[in-house]
């Protein structure tokens, strides 16, 4: 009963935020002279209309799933990793360089890229973690700054060290390294399976193991965790490393699954998208995956919406932004004591009715 009551409010907030965001989106569409219903239909058809479009949507969701799980894991331990983008890029860059320079092909190459990418992401995540626990520096600022370092590091690779002839990009990875499709007529690759597996492992770790339990306890109340004998600093550092490793694995997987080469603008915005998605998903790994797919759908669908109804894709961006605003506001609202009182009143009434019936 209590669990049901809690999860109801947790589900209700994102759901209402999405509905509200679409409502305002519809008003904007009407203001642009389009029929909101037609435009919405085009949006959803573009994202989920055919098996091909479902495949595209799922494929688009892969990097978002990785970076949002990265943000989610750090948040669960009470620290803010805003460096998902840098860790993602370090994963992709390192994975690429390892297979390119060592000339690896086939399965060993794939494994080497994924493993080294994960390690690189973990190291990139560890840096703000170490600075936080030893020097007390603000992890948000350090992790954001490291995004720029990673972007520029990738830049030096595709502009000078491993440039593809005279173009500002690297050559593509060997064909034998490209991750295959899981189902032949859908565009998503094994990278999606890896992403889903990471999500499931995180869920298991956070909610079913003792270490995950302690990590959540540290995230909710560091002082009480310390008083109860948990090694708080170690957990914070581990959460940074694991969080970075998830993003790094994401970078390597996305490189081999979709992107194939390092190129200007790659990965831009993934980190912050991930933070927003994790927040909307109420920091639950499974919910986070669902929200990531929803965001990917908005992005894929918006193109076909623009083609068929003339509503610009930026309306989809507005809807995405509104979902973030509403769900963060909604979460703040549910923390208010007035809301708690209201909820208790509502539920105790229902409870009584159940008893009477």
């Amino acid at each position: 009963m209590e669990k049901l009551r809690k999860s109801l409010t947790t589900f209700l907030v994102p759901l209402l935020s999405i509905l509200l965001a679409f409502l305002i989106g519809a008003i904007i569409m009407a203001g642009l002279g389009a029929n909101p219903l037609t435009a919405m239909y085009a949006l959803f058809k573009g994202a989920f209309g055919t098996s091909a479009s479902v495949g595209t949507t799922l494929n688009k969701a892969v990097p978002l799933i990785f970076t949002s799980l990265c943000a989610c894991f750090a948040y669960k331990c009470g620290v803010y990793n805003l460096g998902g983008e840098g860790q993602f890029l370090m994963g992709a860059t390192t994975g690429f360089c390892v297979v390119h320079c060592l000339g690896l092909t086939g399965l060993p190459g794939i494994l080497a890229a994924l493993v080294t990418g994960t390690i690189a992401g973990g190291i990139w995540g560890m840096l703000p973690g170490i600075l936080k626990i030893t020097r007390g520096l603000n992890e948000m600022i350090i992790s954001i700054m490291l995004n720029y370092v990673a972007t520029l590091f990738m830049g030096v690779i595709y502009t000078s060290w491993i440039r593809d002839a005279n173009m500002p990009q690297t050559p593509s990875v060997d064909d034998s390294l490209k991750l295959g499709r899981v189902i032949s007529d859908m565009r998503f690759t094994w990278a999606l399976i890896i992403a889903l597996a990471v999500g499931l492992i995180l869920y298991y770790f956070l909610y079913w193991t003792s270490s995950g339990f302690k990590l959540r306890a540290v995230g909710l109340n560091m002082t009480a965790s310390r008083f109860n004998g948990f090694p708080v600093k170690r957990y914070i550092l581990i959460s940074f490393i694991v969080s970075g490793a998830i993003a790094g694995l994401g970078g390597a997987s996305d490189l081999l699954g979709t992107q194939y080469r390092l190129i200007n603008g790659y990965g831009s915005g993934y980190g912050f998208d991930g933070v927003a998605i994790a927040l909307i998903g109420q920091l639950h790994p499974i919910a986070t995956i669902i929200v990531a797919i929803f965001f990917a759908a908005l992005r894929v669908g918006s193109t076909s919406m623009q083609v068929s109804t003339g509503v610009p894709t930026s309306v989809s961006d507005i809807i995405q932004a509104l979902v973030i605003v509403f769900s963060v506001a909604g979460m703040a609202l549910t923390k208010l004591p007035e809301f708690e009182a209201f909820r208790l009143r509502l539920f105790s009434k229902k409870g009584k009715e159940e008893v009477n019936a």
Partner: protein, 503 residues
């Protein structure tokens, strides 16, 4: 002597509870009146009424013979009432000069006539012997100097009545002497002072008259030369020995579970440090630490549970010397801790009751498979349900977040967790603070039962009644030192009261 302030029949009610009841007091020009009372006696509430932070429920205030309604601190300042808070209210990033002219009525315009202001402040400082460096930042000057800045600021804003809240609390001995000299100078110049204190030495040094408060009411007002320390301590504590309802164990032959030998931590900080504390707790006895809040009790509790490490001295648990202080090392040696701030230090508020009850047990075979690899949620739930029944934790479900419980029930969750681990030493800091009578009684019963099972208990409390009720032995702490040891059976209340005030 001319009367400056008269408070008549002041009462202040908070949600049915009287913080002040029917308080009458007067302050004459050029005298020092001390308000003496324990924590929670109503001193701060009364002063907050006087400076306009609270409105009295009943009663009248007369200042300079005129009835006044003081509705804001700003109005109090305009009337000539200045307060120096225990924790100074200065802007650290500004200079002394800037702090003093902050909120000055003369600088209402856009420009500040710095030279004129400065001359005025320097004149004031010279007159009262308030030696401050005007151009230093607040962060650069000592605590004693900060206090002088506060006093100077109040005077600059025209204070005729100064309220000093625990004025010597943060000062070194030399600074305290300086403060006394300043107080003397101020009263000679016709300023009046209300000082809040519970330190006997200081009260006797500076006061002309002393008003004793207890439980929100005035016990009496006495002249300095008609009283002494013992009389005042008795008035302040006001304890009629009612006899404890629990049987006291005068002799414990149990094993020594905790031994501190000359433990020091921030030795020179009188209120947040330990200056050579030696304590012994045996199995099956309750050792009570009495004392006014903020005399090192917090640090004592944290040292004996590993939250902070002692800087000097030895700490032994069951005869084993502990060299590395870390909470987990103490938990591993069966030390339980009921911390003083249950929400901040004891509980994970946003986790369910059940999770809080098994907080330290998730690795055990009872609640997980493979050393914490898979939590047995059913076991956890049924265990929690048993405990909520056993410890009378009132909740709708063990899945409820512990934050949504009342204070008493939250405390029972902590107590259940800490006692179910079958500790050999229980450190309980203010275990019944803020609890109602029923919950307090329950906590006490559980602690006595634990003692009878052979648990050694170190009880730290600012509630003197609780110490008298529960302790088999009583130690008194004052400024980081143990002032004496007393028997818990027929405790010498008068001596203990006196020791609590530093005699």
């Amino acid at each position: 002597m001319e009367e400056l302030l008269r408070m008549e029949h002041i009462s202040k009610q908070f949600a049915g509870f009287y913080a002040n009841r029917d308080i009458c007091l007067t302050v004459n020009r050029g005298e020092v009146l001390t308000l003496l009372g324990e924590n929670g006696a109503g001193k701060s509430t009364l002063m907050n009424i006087l400076i306009g932070l609270y409105q009295p429920t009943e009663g009248k205030i007369f200042f300079k013979g005129k009835e006044e309604r003081i509705e804001s601190p700003g109005q109090a300042v305009r009337l000539g009432i200045g307060m120096v808070h225990q924790h100074f209210m200065l802007v650290e990033a500004m200079t002394v000069f800037e702090n003093i002219i902050l909120g000055d009525k003369n600088s209402g315009g856009i420009f500040i006539d710095r030279d004129a202001r400065r001359a005025e402040i320097e004149a004031l400082a010279g007159r009262y012997g308030l030696d401050v460096e005007l151009d230093k930042l607040i962060t650069e000057i000592s605590v004693g100097a900060q206090q002088r800045v506060e006093i100077l600021k109040a005077l600059y804003h025209g204070a005729e009545l100064l309220i000093l809240d625990e004025p010597s609390a943060a000062l070194t001995d030399i600074e305290v002497e300086g403060l006394f000299a300043i107080i003397q100078k101020l009263t000679e110049e016709g300023k009046s002072i209300i000082s809040i204190s519970h330190k006997m030495r200081e009260v006797l040094r500076i006061s002309d008259r002393i008003t004793v408060l207890r439980a929100g009411e005035v016990v009496t007002t006495v002249k300095r030369n008609e009283t002494d320390a013992q009389k005042l301590a008795n008035l302040m504590i006001g304890h009629e020995l009612a006899g404890s309802q629990y049987e006291k164990k005068t002799k414990s032959d149990g094993q020594t579970v905790l031994k501190l030998n000359e433990v020091k931590y921030h030795e020179h900080s009188k209120h947040n440090g330990l200056a050579g504390v030696s304590i012994e707790v045996k199995a099956g006895e309750i050792v009570g630490i009495a004392g006014v809040d903020g005399n090192g009790q917090t640090q004592l509790a944290q040292v004996v549970t590993g939250v902070i490490s002692p800087e000097q001295g030895a700490l032994e648990i069951k005869g084993e010397k502990i060299s590395v202080s870390d909470p987990s090392a103490f938990i591993g040696r069966n030390v339980s801790h009921v911390p003083e701030d249950r929400n901040l230090q004891g509980l994970i508020g946003d986790m369910p009751i059940s999770d809080n009850l098994i907080l330290k047990l998730t690795d055990s075979a009872q609640f997980s498979r493979g050393k914490g690899m898979f939590l047995k949620k059913k076991e956890i739930r049924s265990y929690a349900e048993n405990l909520t029944e056993k410890y009378d934790i009132r909740c709708t479900s063990v899945e409820q977040d512990v934050r949504s419980l009342s204070g008493g029930n939250q405390q029972k969750v902590i107590l259940a967790r800490e006692l179910e681990s079958e500790p050999e030493l229980l450190v309980a800091a203010h275990p019944t603070r803020g609890l109602d009578i029923g919950a307090t009684r329950f906590v006490h019963d559980q602690m006595i039962a634990a003692r009878d099972r052979g648990v050694g208990i170190l009880l730290i409390s600012a509630d003197f009644d609780e110490i008298l009720e529960m302790s088999d032995r009583i130690l008194v702490m004052f400024e980081g030192q143990i002032m004496g040891e007393f028997s818990g059976e027929n405790p010498p209340v008068e001596e203990i009261s006196l020791a609590m005030t530093g005699r």
